[in-house]
């Protein structure tokens, strides 16, 4: 198994789209850690002689309404955007995925309760919930992305549970149990390793969604004080001066789109390479995206 997964990991990188995606994501990660240090100019430095300048040698991506260097602001803003996105995905992954595996083996009562809690969480739209939580916990990006992470939990939970359910019924799992493998051994060796690719793809997709959430929240002005640069913040400040600099919003917009696109492309490449059938994903089977209430309703009254 481990040899095969290494082989499939290698072949994913043979796809050109995956390679480009990895390069883009590596650059973004680099910016997340060293963005402020690498920025060519002070991201907060105001220059009243250079307002709304287009791209030039001094300012590669132009300047904003206070004459601040847009490139430097975007580079310095990467850390907060990326780290808080990872915070949300981390919460969803760490809570949701283990629960999804565990619920299959912990009996029907636990499964029922976990599913109903997931149902309830899925009724809360993430941006609404995030803004509402900042009203309770205080206005900070870390606080705002915490509820977004909570709302990722049902996604990870559902996907992992579905994949685990499939595997738990597989004959080789039964065989391993009959051969005397302990429950924990069977779960660890025969189930978790097989569920892993599903979780990996879900994580990449969730990272993209989380980045969009961060950008939107910072765009709304949630979580950060004005001079602090963020991707969404740069975008929203451009919005007030569309008459003077109509091209300005396209730069942060393109940065967000390219990053999210790279994450989606990586997930797609991995999904294609691992092949349909081995992965249980919403895109592969849109009907599984149906709200669980339908499944529950169906379970209560069998069709026909």
């Amino acid at each position: 198994m481990s040899r095969r997964s290494r082989a499939s990991g290698g072949s994913v990188l043979r796809l050109p789209s995956a390679r480009i995606a990895v390069v883009i994501l590596a650059a973004i990660l680099l910016l997340a850690f060293f963005g402020s240090a690498l920025a060519p100019q002070n991201p907060l430095g105001i220059d009243s002689n250079a307002l709304f300048e287009g791209p030039s040698k001094a300012h590669w991506l132009g300047t904003d309404y206070l004459g601040r260097d847009v490139l430097s602001r975007l580079m310095a803003g990467t850390r907060l955007s990326v780290l808080t996105a990872l915070e949300a995905v981390g919460i969803g992954l760490v809570v949701g995925a283990p629960l999804g595996v565990a619920t299959v083996f912990l009996g029907r009562t636990f499964d029922f309760i976990a599913n109903r809690v997931a149902d309830a969480l899925m009724t809360l739209p993430s941006i609404f919930f995030a803004v509402a939580v900042t009203a309770a916990l205080g206005n900070g990006l870390v606080q705002a992305m915490f509820p977004v992470g909570i709302l990722f939990i049902p996604n990870f939970f559902r996907l992992t549970r579905a994949a685990t359910l499939d595997l738990a019924r597989a004959q080789y799992v039964e065989a391993a149990e009959l051969l005397g493998g302990s429950k924990l051994h069977v779960i660890r060796v025969h189930v978790v390793r097989k569920v892993f690719p599903t979780i990996a793809v879900a994580t990449a997709t969730a990272c993209g969604a989380a980045l969009l959430s961060v950008s939107f929240l910072t765009f709304l002005g949630i979580g950060v004080q004005p001079p602090t640069p963020t991707w969404g913040g740069v975008l929203s400040s451009d919005l007030n001066y569309l008459n003077l600099a109509p091209w300005a919003p396209f730069i942060p917009g393109a940065l967000i789109a390219v990053t999210v696109g790279a994450l989606n492309a990586l997930a797609d490449a991995y999904r294609d390479k691992t092949g349909p059938g081995t992965l249980l994903l919403p895109e592969a089977d849109p009907v599984s995206k149906t709200h669980a209430t339908l499944e529950a309703a169906d379970a209560r009254q069998p069709a026909a």
Partner: protein, 339 residues
């Protein structure tokens, strides 16, 4: 299989009554499942207030008047000194009767501010869904019919590009192109439909389009996939061989059976559209629920926040129930047509 056909045949004696009974049972079962879910999500919503370490009584009274006695009195009046579960029950039993409390700051009833602003988001969301169905449905159908053609390949590229663009970025692009560049349409403000349908439509078409694009891409992609599958089925060939016109076969036989997954996406996304309208509101500075939520969050106006979340999550649940019921009917009737 044979057994199922037999029971179907037996039940066909009174098809209308049977269908009505099935529908009632399905809706009833759905409500039975949904009520506990709503109860749980409303409890999560209500506990937000308890989570907050803010002291509403002190805020309302202001710094000078906030003596401990006055704060304690106001807390008693607001019911904030009771246990959380009792507070929740009081709030919920009031909410069911349409009373969501009053804002701490403006003293306006929460239900009044919500019902004032809901039309803005509902118009945007509904128009967005209509646009998405038209755009996505047409694009998906054309791509499936002309599979492998230039339109099909172009659609794949456009769809994956659109899926990386959040609604607020699309909105900004639309503003730049249509309002700043071409001066064709207004870029802000909202006009109620009572003041004329034309101006109303002109003010919401751009926000709705911004919101619709993502959904349209999802629908187009899904419809293309399922339609390609259905068009390869024998019964489509059969219908053509029997001499039915292609258009009729496509619409009555293929599209009807292929639309299920796309409808599922629509049903899942429509409630989110209401929340997504927040994005459109922010870009086009419209006075909708999102603006209300943002203001309330900034001033920590907990009753407004709780009321909004309750309304939106109830909306999500109810729309899901409706969509699931409609879907169940579609599949049932197509099954009946097939056998």
């Amino acid at each position: 299989m044979a057994v199922i056909e037999l029971t179907n045949a037996a039940g066909a004696v009174a098809p209308r009554r049977r269908r009505a009974r099935v529908a009632a049972a399905r809706v009833g079962g759905g409500i039975g499942v949904l009520l506990p879910i709503l109860l749980l999500s409303s409890f999560i919503t209500y506990s937000l207030g308890a989570l907050s370490n803010s002291n509403p009584a002190a805020t309302i009274l202001g710094q000078d008047a906030a003596t401990p006695a006055a704060v304690a009195h106001l807390n008693h009046v607001l019911g904030l000194d009771k246990p959380l579960l009792v507070q929740y029950w009081d709030w919920l039993s009031q909410a069911v009767q349409g009373n969501l409390g009053t804002s701490y700051f403006t003293q306006i009833p929460v239900s009044v501010s919500i019902s004032q602003r809901l039309p803005v988001d509902l118009s945007i969301a509904i128009l967005a869904v209509i646009l998405a169905v038209i755009l996505g449905g047409t694009a998906g159908t054309v791509a499936a019919v002309r599979r492998g053609g230039w339109f099909d390949r172009g659609l794949t590229v456009v769809c994956s590009a659109v899926s990386t663009l959040p609604a607020f970025v699309v909105g900004i692009i639309l503003v730049v192109v249509f309002a700043v560049g071409a001066h064709l349409l207004p870029a802000n403000q909202y006009v109620a439909p009572a003041q004329g349908l034309g101006p109303w439509l002109a003010h919401i078409i751009l926000p709705a389009l911004a919101l619709a694009l993502q959904l349209a891409a999802d629908i187009a992609r899904q419809l293309r996939t399922s339609l390609v599958g259905v068009l390869e089925q024998n019964y489509i060939t059969g219908a053509r061989v029997r001499g039915l016109p292609y258009r009729r076969v496509l619409i009555r036989h293929a599209l009807r059976n292929a639309s299920g997954p796309a409808l599922v996406i629509l049903g899942n996304d429509f409630p989110i559209m209401l929340a997504g309208a927040v994005a459109a509101e922010a870009v086009f500075s419209l006075p909708g629920l999102g603006q209300l939520l943002l203001n309330a969050a900034q001033s920590r106006d907990i009753p407004v926040v709780q009321g909004l979340l309750l309304v939106v999550s109830t909306f999500v649940v109810v729309v899901n129930l409706v969509v699931n019921t409609v879907l169940a009917f579609l599949y049932r009737s197509s099954e009946g047509a097939g056998t």
